[in-house]
Symmetry: C2
Subunit: 351 residues, 2 copies
């Protein structure tokens, strides 16, 4: 069931409380640790950078269960500050103790914006990426930590993020619309007139988090934004935007865009930078892809250009919630635009 | 992600708004219509009772898309009042028109407690069952409609509801706890100390709606309550309770109870009463089963008695949310009790 209610602005402390509370349950941590692409890429990246980490001081922003902090200690860090605002910090402290790393890892309970560390750090590690990269806007906290606690020339893991978009044809959504045409055959009641209403509900302006099947991607994805974590500013995150141009592989019906991201870890041997990709062409991660449904499907043929601009910015209702605005042109059609957002269950429950 | 927040009491009108809003999206209606067990059983029951429906006036309580009203018209009803409070009523009106039944079906927008009908009815049909039967407490509305609008000796479809309980062994929950013991092998970090925390989160007091596999049911289910829709009162629904006694099929570990329901439709030929069952031993429905996790798993052997009492009552926070309290004794163990409730996302978002 989906609760569709009126939205109102949440005050900042309330937003934060809801956000941090959501990480107090084991499920999200289980999902993140069990995501082998995520956890193994971080592990490999940290171990490959052990020359830069050995003997150094590390800050883990939003440490969760502390798994990345343990990887850093294993890579030889002299000291790791595992900063975590949620009560999961208590579990992180147990895990640190259980792995005999209390001398090297210090779990610090609090937000990175408010905690005091006894020293500057040489390395920042963080797994800050949300759905569509920027949902939950935890990157702001990483940038805050960088500006406040990272020594000049320090290392940031990962050091770069990139955003991609591609037109897709989602058969599941079309099947759901078609369902209403099948009711007569099943039960003798003609419900085909429901399909317009169904289209309005399914192809709405919510960002849908879903696994996109490779065959449903209609062109090479286009990169529309890149964030260099050494130079990007909080100000820049108020609107992350860029252009894209895709060309259809063949004849198909576009009914959505798919947005996904990659993050890149620096490597001593620069030829082998390590990329954590959430592309539909790569093994699935718990981030899946962000699917943005168009109001009406559009036919394309081979090489039909699909062009436009994407901008991503925090929602007015809640700064942790991302909005994605897409201006797009498919072939000879007129320019269209649509604004999407992640449904905000907490805000929706407001009167 | 699960949002765990402080709860507060919602005022009645707010609860109603949230409840009715949830039925304005197409997804829930698609799920209900696509549930063949549900829709076909209602269809068969209505058609089998056509002798009692032909030429009569019917009230459909919470008509949704109006599918049951159409079945009643097909069974020969002279007039069907399809009462629906949500905006889905607009779709019901379209469907009625689309099926050329405007002369026989009148969609009435409003709650059954507030609408005025021009006449008394001979038949009430309603699909009012929620998770664990009573979640959403729509039965109250059916009883209100019965007392206000049903002529003496009228028909109620369905006419009886029964509740069952059985001890189960849920391997998924145990696998999730075991996961934390596998992290060391996967990533070289010992996270086994997370399993207590995980048990607290997973085996919590939420009612989990899940499909229970037949092999995981450890005894014949025991019926603990029966509601006769002709005689049950709103007062009775303040606490639906009963005793149960189960005997284990064999050696196993009980880690949960499973609660489910059946509803029965009267049939002219009483030997063939039609039952809509949500038993784990029957084909799956969208209601699945309600799973109640115990705090600690308990071993049983063949014929170990599992006895106790169950009581189901509306939550203090929201009358539409059900609580299930189970007092139970497994074999020679001391009596234990635990109270469960359906997580209330809307209430949880409150400050």
């Amino acid at each position: 069931m989906s609760h569709v209610g009126k939205k109102r602005k949440l005050d900042k402390s309330r937003q934060d409380r809801l956000y941090f509370d959501s990480y107090s349950d084991v499920t999200i941590h289980e999902e993140m640790i069990a995501d082998h692409v995520r956890t193994n890429t971080y592990r490999t990246a940290i171990l490959r950078n052990s020359e830069s980490i050995r003997g150094k001081v590390v800050l883990d922003v939003g440490a969760g269960t502390g798994v990345l902090s343990v990887f850093c200690a294993q890579a030889g860090a002299k000291k790791v500050y595992a900063v975590e605002a949620c009560s999961i910090a208590e579990q992180a402290a147990k895990i640190v103790k259980h792995n005999n790393m209390e001398d090297r890892i210090e779990v610090v309970r609090g937000t990175v914006e408010t905690v005091e560390l006894p020293e500057m750090v040489e390395v920042i590690v963080s797994e800050w990426m949300g759905y569509a990269l920027l949902h939950e806007s935890m990157l702001n906290s990483v940038l805050y930590a960088r500006d406040k606690w990272l020594k000049a020339g320090g290392l940031i893991l990962p050091s770069k993020a990139e955003l991609y978009i591609a037109p897709i044809s989602d058969p599941v959504a079309e099947d759901r619309l078609h369902f209403w045409y099948t009711v007569k055959e099943q039960y003798g009641v003609d419900m085909s007139c429901m399909s317009d209403f169904a289209r309005g509900c399914i192809m709405n302006s919510d960002i849908t988090v879903n696994s996109v099947t490779v065959e449903d991607v209609l062109s090479h994805p286009a990169r529309f934004a890149e964030l260099d974590l050494h130079s990007v500013t909080v100000d820049h995150l108020r609107s992350v935007e860029g252009h894209f141009r895709c060309e259809s592989f063949g004849s198909a019906t576009v009914n959505a865009f798919c947005v996904y991201f990659t993050v890149t870890f620096p490597c001593p041997d620069k030829a082998h930078a390590l990329v954590l990709s959430t592309s539909p062409f790569k093994p699935e991660t718990h981030w899946k892809q962000a699917v943005l449904y168009l109001d009406a499907p559009t036919d394309v043929v081979q090489d039909t250009p699909v062009t436009g601009t994407v901008s991503m910015y925090p929602s007015n209702q809640s700064a942790r919630h991302i909005c994605i605005h897409v201006d797009y042109t498919i072939g000879e059609q007129k320019r269209r635009s649509k604004t999407f957002s992640i449904p905000d269950w907490s805000a929706e429950a407001q009167p």
